[in-house]
Symmetry: C2
Subunit: 186 residues, 2 copies
DNA sequence: CTTATTTTTTGATAAATGTCAATTTTATTG
DNA sequence: CAATAAAATTGACATTTATCAAAAAATAAG
């Protein structure tokens, strides 16, 4: 079960047998039913989560409304960025959208490894730079594209999200109301 | 002149004398008049820039209009994220908004150091995680705040930008037209 | 200092999106 | 499968922001 995990890590940055062993000692596996929370608001995010099976959405409340900030598809990583790095309670929640199996890598392990293992440090750099590119891309699309364009982009670039997310999740993810998204779709 | 640079690096992540020496060998200093370009569209971004003196804006063209994506204040870092990591021609340009002095750290040096020096790798991780937090924060504000709120945030959180950026730069940075910003201001 | 150029402001109008309410459709549960 | 709850759609209208054009103000150049 970890072999697929390490294959994906390896495709991000090469890691040797020794490094794998070290990483493995900081992994835990958890299962979640659809709709359960991987991380609750107020908890501190102490892991980087890998969706071995299933998917999730990351959301927060703004004026009593749920706003979906991000989706994580199967075989992808996620975490609450600010909470993880600042060790502060998360304003984000992470909720599974299907029955899921999550492989968690602890921050304690990450801290230890980035200070002791060059291979791991470089792996982590590559994970961060990948996240940064994604975040930047999304920011650009928010800055000067219309709701319709943003929806089109989603359909062409991340069609898998349409499979598991409902209209309200997608609407708030795109920064629009569900009524507007419904009209765009028709 | 480098001492201030290293103080700032050191405040991000502790680095010893040896690491400093190694970094120093990959630094170059460049001066720019106001309005000159640190990076042109189409060039590949091969450095991380530190604004020792002066400031800049990072912009791109969309439908023949300039869109400012980011501002860099004095004593801060910047680079074209996608171009730097993917080694591809930048769609962004970086233009100074004042006479400036830039300390450039080369990608060649960065590549070398992250693979050989744990201290540097950790420094770089901290630079990336800081960028990621900023990027995320900006994305959130784009997602569900009105133009007026985004402007208010800018005034309270980054007032220095108002000193060197003109109305059009700020408007496109906020994702609105200059007419709208002018009305918000009055 | 005067003229030219660029930037900002203002006005009128159009387009995009939001809000609220009602209805229809879909999903859930006993 | 009927009853209920939740989600999606639709309509009427309000609000925000964009667009285009012109005027005013600020900046740069001779």
């Amino acid at each position: 079960m970890f072999s697929e995990y390490f294959n994906i890590l390896g495709s991000i940055s090469p890691i040797g047998e020794l490094c794998r062993k070290k990483i493995e000692s900081h992994l835990t596996i958890k299962e979640f039913k659809k709709g359960e929370h991987i991380l609750h608001t107020g908890e501190t995010c102490n892991h980087i989560y890998f969706m071995y099976k299933g998917c999730n959405r990351i959301y927060y409340y703004k004026n009593d409304k749920e706003i979906t900030e991000w989706f994580t598809s199967e075989k992808h990583f996620c975490f609450s960025i600010t909470s993880f790095f600042d060790k502060t309670p998360s304003h984000l929640s992470i909720e599974t959208l299907e029955d899921s199996v999550v492989i968690q890598l602890s921050r304690k392990g990450i801290d230890e490894l980035i200070h002791s293992d060059l291979e791991f440090a470089n792996l982590f750099i590559n994970i961060l730079s990948g996240s940064l590119k994604l975040s930047q891309k999304r920011m650009d699309s928010m800055q000067f594209e219309t709701a319709r364009q943003r929806y089109q982009n989603l359909v062409t670039e991340q069609p898998e999200i349409l499979q598991f997310a409902n209209l309200q999740h997608i609407a708030s993810f795109l920064g629009i109301t569900s009524e507007t998204l419904s009209r765009i779709r028709s």
